[in-house]
């Protein structure tokens, strides 16, 4: 047993981050999604969780000189169908990649236990491809919340089982992240916060606002202990006035934000981002 040389990890080839595919977002994240740990994206539906993760599947294939991981990725999804058309659309922004869709493996998930089984089976695939041109460098799970939200009852016995499974899945993911130098992204949903008094504060804010709802991340406190970095996405409808032919005309515009809820290496910060046809990108403040 030997301690690890931290200086070696400091060299740019070892502290790997996976670019999100946009300089502004990368700056917010200190270079991108870190390898060797679990990053969670939390948001209500329609905020762009899946969009960001689809773009990640592509940017992970970029060479390391461009901030990517030069690797393939695995996309595990619980909410069918897999948005393959959108992925194809986004891939046009990555003209340098050769047949990018061929380097994305997908697998559907039925239940939380199924997820654990799939992860265990991945070990052999991950190690067989290690250090080969088709090495896998990113796992995305979309979404963890959907798997857990309906399978367990709200009684002490089920809750205990549920949190045990959280830690088992997280431990497996972290072990793989570490062994194979993977970036792991899990997607989580939100639940409404009913009253102010018993809101447990996790991270940089007691509760989060999205579409004028007050929400917090789903799956509770135990799951929050299972991820290393939590990013919160929110949306906000705004009425904007525009002048059309001399008349004021109102239209609604959706603004989207991404904020660091907690992370071992990032301060509390946020940035606005836009989902366009071609790509997802952050806005300079």
């Amino acid at each position: 047993m030997k301690p690890e040389d931290l200086l070696q990890r400091l060299s740019p080839t070892h502290t790997q981050k996976c670019t999100v595919g946009c300089l502004v977002l990368d700056r917010l994240l200190g270079g991108g999604i870190p390898c060797n740990s679990i990053t969670e994206l939390v948001a209500e539906s329609g905020c762009g969780k899946t969009q960001i993760s689809l773009q990640l599947l592509l940017s992970a294939q970029l060479p390391t000189s461009l901030g990517g991981l030069s690797g393939s990725s695995i996309y595990l999804y619980s909410e069918s169908p897999f948005p393959v058309r959108r992925l194809h659309q986004l891939s046009s922004s990555f003209p340098t990649l050769h047949n990018p869709l061929g380097k994305i493996l997908t697998h559907p998930l039925h239940s939380a236990h199924h997820l654990f089984d799939v992860l265990s089976q991945l070990d052999s695939l991950l190690s067989s491809r290690l250090d080969s041109p088709s090495q896998i460098k990113l796992i995305v799970i979309d979404s963890i919340a959907a798997l857990f939200r309906f399978e367990f009852e709200n009684n002490p016995r089920d809750l205990k089982q549920r949190s045990g499974l959280f830690f088992r899945i997280s431990s497996k993911l972290k072990e793989q992240a570490r062994r194979f130098g993977l970036a792991v992204v899990v997607i989580n949903q939100v639940v409404d916060v009913m009253n102010d008094t018993d809101g447990l504060r996790i991270g940089n804010s007691t509760c989060w606002y999205t579409s004028e709802r007050k929400v917090c991340a789903a799956l509770g406190l135990s799951w929050a202990n299972c991820v290393n970095t939590r990013l919160f996405l929110s949306r906000q409808e705004e009425r904007v006035a525009r002048e059309v032919n001399g008349d004021d005309c109102f239209s609604t515009q959706t603004r989207r934000f991404i904020r660091v809820a907690f992370a071992p290496h990032l301060p509390d910060s946020y940035c606005e981002f836009v989902i366009s046809r071609e790509k997802i990108f952050g806005l300079e403040r």
């Binding site: 301690p3 002490p156 504060r201 071992p264």
Partner: protein, 346 residues
């Protein structure tokens, strides 16, 4: 007192020093077989060294009491020794104050709180601060960091080390007249070199590393802090046999406590919080259950109070319960901003 003043042969003296036994006090708590093994000398030679060392100690002592059993200490001796023990600063003076001057060596301190409260930040800060040179009131030690969760980020450790160096340089500026000789010639990278980092991916690995620590630290006697971030993570996967879990955790706690005593080092165990169902309502409590709560000497709970982070001493044999605000900044753990304002207003 240095071992160089002991009336023993020069070669033995050199062996002692190269083995890390630089002060006479470092010979008090070890057995002759340990010394024999460490220095690769015969047991008789080791016994002789210890006899000479204890005689020297006897002549030093003002009241001349000698211990009843080898290794036993009177409370008076313990008090004197405790005064000499260094403490590791947290870089937040209010937090240091309620801890009685910082994290104390020779003890196991458990620190718990919700995700994002700053447990890992405090862990990294202590791994850096333990290295502050003696001229700056530090321990000039090294750190062992056992990472069970994968949250240790090298880039963050480097940031905190850089800020720590800046503070030392500033301090050096104040004391320039007195401390001509000691320049700060450390580099941020030196701090990283002195953190022995172990990443463990299962509870069996965690137990193995803890068992290995005794050997590792006896080879690296300048380790002054052991940080486990977190003690909990691998023990929260469904353990069907809860009695086994309790035994494993208890055994680990005992080993760590022994380590703290034997090598005069601080052990920091970071813990998670969980909700506990009592009297019809859910309450926040540190994880791992009731029996675990007896395992650590000190217990510090980190929590949010409005927009401020607070640390609360939940259990300590030597200081009273108290709370202090702290903040997590780009430079690491620091005093809370509102505290500074209050001071300025007065």
């Amino acid at each position: 007192m240095e071992v160089s003043s002991l009336p023993i042969s020069a070669s033995l003296r050199a062996k002692l020093i190269s083995g890390g036994y630089t002060s006479i006090s470092s010979l008090f708590s070890v057995s002759h077989s340990d010394v024999a093994r460490d220095l690769k000398i015969s047991e008789n030679q080791a016994l002789e060294i210890l006899r000479v060392a204890s005689r020297r100690r006897g002549s030093e002592r003002s009241n001349g009491t000698s211990s009843i059993v080898n290794g036993a200490q009177s409370a008076w001796e313990m008090l004197n020794e405790e005064k000499l023990l260094g403490r590791i600063t947290t870089s937040c003076s209010e937090l240091d104050d309620i801890l009685g001057g910082g994290i104390s060596c020779k003890e196991v301190t458990e620190i718990g709180g919700v995700p994002g409260i700053g447990k890992t930040q405090l862990g990294i800060q202590l791994a850096v601060n333990v290295q502050i040179p003696m001229d700056y009131g530090g321990l000039q030690g090294k750190a062992v960091y056992i990472d069970t969760e994968g949250s240790f980020m090298v880039e963050r450790a480097l940031q905190i080390a850089e800020a720590c160096l800046e503070d030392m340089r500033e301090y050096h500026g104040f004391l320039k007249r007195d401390l001509q000789a000691c320049q700060v010639n450390m580099q941020p990278k030196d701090f990283l070199e002195n953190i022995f980092y172990f990443r463990v991916c299962s509870y069996t690995e965690q137990i193995a590393v803890v068992n290995y620590l005794e050997k590792f630290i006896s080879e690296h006697k300048d380790v002054k802090v052991v940080i486990i971030d977190s003690i909990t993570f691998h023990f929260r996967q469904d353990f069907d046999d809860m009695a086994l879990r309790t035994r494993l955790l208890g055994g680990m706690a005992l080993k760590l406590m022994k380590l703290a005593k034997k090598f005069t080092l601080a052990v920091i165990l970071l813990n998670q919080v969980t909700t506990k169902y009592t009297e019809g309502q859910y309450q926040l409590t540190l994880a791992l259950g009731d029996s675990w709560s007896h395992a650590c000497t000190n217990r510090v709970i980190l929590y949010w109070n409005g927009n401020e982070r607070y640390a609360y001493i939940d259990k300590s044999p030597s200081v009273r319960s108290a709370a202090a605000a702290y903040s997590v900044t780009g430079r690491g753990i620091r005093s809370s901003v509102s505290n500074c304002k209050r001071v300025k207003m007065m």
